[in-house]
Subunit: 337 residues, 2 copies
DNA sequence: TTGTATGCGTTATCAG
DNA sequence: CTGATAACGCATACAA
């Protein structure tokens, strides 16, 4: 059933039906009523595809997420949820593209096929082919995360460098002299994943400033890796009294390893990090952490994207958040092991 | 840039370009080469919207998820990931609709606007308006979950009744006589959420069969609620020695409450449940649980949906899984408190 | 082996 | 206030 059918049954032309629906030109009250009655009776809804073809826009946003195979972190899930939510508030749908590498089929379909009016890109690398590609196509897009050239695009991001710096400062203030950074996976960091690099930069800088002894290690994004990673750290660096981390997924394992090493948190060992609030609160004891406002970032990303869609010449804008550290149960004054 | 432009620049007609691309009729090698060269040079990709309008299908699957505001459980996230993955393998995209209630705008857009070739429905209630609506529109759909009339649709589901029954049996075998069921949220159960009702049925039945004392309670889907819920259970039912649950999100809080009550798991108190494997393994100690194979279910749902799309008259099919309980660290022989 | 013409369902312009 | 009609970009039946 299409607009033609409604028109016929209402005894009017297709254009009148269209205008009755859109309100873009006056339609007499009686015919409007008659049309509406037919529409209600048949349950007619305009075909979105035909409309998109005619209007040149799909009323759809693309969301590029990390490949589904690797489980999304709680923070990433928060981004997805808030993007979908914000889009729904603007009556827009969200098309998902699970694409990590550069020449991904679903990404290509979405962008090349003009399936969306704009794209939100997650898990951006310092050098990211997808960014180059999107810039070239002139399709509006916004990053949750940024490349090494911040001015080339609009983005929202978490200031990992600042946050890890604050974490180290907090540990130093508590008297910790030997601290470690547990980063994201080696693959991710090797691929130029921004947060990994920026966290390391913040760690290195602050360790130097406070004249601490610092060690950095990568760790795969899962609990088991968290266990082995912390076991190794404790073994190879017996003086360690604190860990800072940006690796949410490894945290449960890190807790477990500390527990099994007979170290009580925070009495014997301090733990601090950057994480989604729910994640931090759900750990036991709850993690002292900079709570990333995933909701706000996702909503902001959608806002920025909508601006670019409305006016492609909108200058690039950026939104860098550095939420304060919420003191919970996992940091305390240093105590030699 | 469109197919017309490619045709002009290649000195052929639009249809020849189209056929060169689709391979649906012979095109001489030379012209094919020439066309391909132009396409490569301009980076042309057929417009997906126009193609969808012409072909009458969108190459897109709709995935209806619980409203993003309420955080998805790990299991639900697993479903989403596996659906997206399976769809990508079939070169299909996934459109997300965060819709809980009946008259949701995004759901209506997706279904009424014919934006998708088929729908996968999550978090189905025993009586679900969306199911009725989809049946009425004759749009192919598959449930992850099922209504009270299993034969009215195709679905995949977890046999919560069976699984909770097995959990209770396991507890009874260990000598537990006073056990509790921690269900999903009261709102969800009141709304007729299937797993909540079926878990309760399995619990009630098995408690009776084994002549145990059983108590059931709802609990909101978050850690804090898990804490208060277990605190209350321990207070009001001092003889309780074990809990079975299907509430993933509450589990961290349940652990915490037991810990704070001075009860060591599993020595003083047993805990068992139904959960995604990663979730169970990440808890500390790892939860003895029936591991829901979210990946398999999501992939199966896509399979079923593709069959219905290919042939709308395919009879309804069902896939009910009841994975075995993985013994981990949280159940032991009953010890009176 | 290739070209022409039609229609998918809308919206919007032009005419009345 | 309303109707006829031309696009939107593509795929395909029909001609040649």
């Amino acid at each position: 059933m299409n607009i033609e059918e409604i028109a016929r049954r209402s005894g009017v032309s297709r254009s009148t039906v269209s205008y009755a629906l859109s309100g873009k030109r006056r339609v007499s009250e009686v015919t409007r009523r008659r049309i509406q009655a037919v529409i209600d009776e048949l349950g007619y809804r305009p075909n979105a595809t035909a409309r998109a073809l005619k209007e040149g826009r799909t009323r759809t946003l693309g969301l590029v997420i990390p490949p589904a195979s690797q489980r999304l972190t709680d923070m990433q899930l928060g981004f997805v949820a808030s993007v979908v939510d914000a889009a729904a508030r603007a009556d827009l749908d969200v098309l998902l593209s699970p694409s990590g590498g550069e020449h991904d089929r679903s990404f290509e379909r979405m962008v090349g096929g003009k399936r969306v009016d704009g794209v939100i890109l997650m898990e951006i690398r310092l050098e990211d082919d997808r960014v180059a590609h999107l810039r070239h196509t002139r399709l509006p897009f916004v990053g949750i995360g940024r490349t090494s050239r911040p001015d080339e695009m609009s983005w929202v991001d978490v200031d990992y460098e600042m946050l890890i710096s604050r974490c180290v400062t907090h540990l130093a203030d508590l008297g910790h002299r030997n601290v470690a950074l547990v980063n994201r996976s080696a693959e991710l960091v090797a691929a130029g994943y921004g947060p990994g690099h920026r966290a390391l930069a913040g760690f290195t800088r602050t360790v130097a400033e406070r004249e601490l002894y610092g060690v950095q290690t990568c760790c795969a994004d899962d609990a088991q890796s968290g266990v082995t990673c912390v076991e190794r750290l404790l073994r190879e660096h017996p003086d360690l009294t604190a860990i800072a981390t940006i690796n949410e997924a490894a945290l449960p394992g890190m807790y477990r390893a500390l527990d099994q090493a007979g170290l009580s948190v925070p009495r014997d060992f301090s733990l601090i990090g950057v994480a989604a609030r729910h994640w931090a609160e759900n750990l036991h004891p709850p993690l002292t952490a900079a709570d990333v406002p995933a909701d706000e970032l996702g909503a902001r990303a959608v806002d920025l994207l909508l601006q670019h869609i409305a006016d492609p010449d909108t200058p690039h804008r950026h939104h860098l958040v550095s939420p304060p550290i919420s003191l919970r149960g996992t940091t305390a004054v240093a105590r030699p092991r």
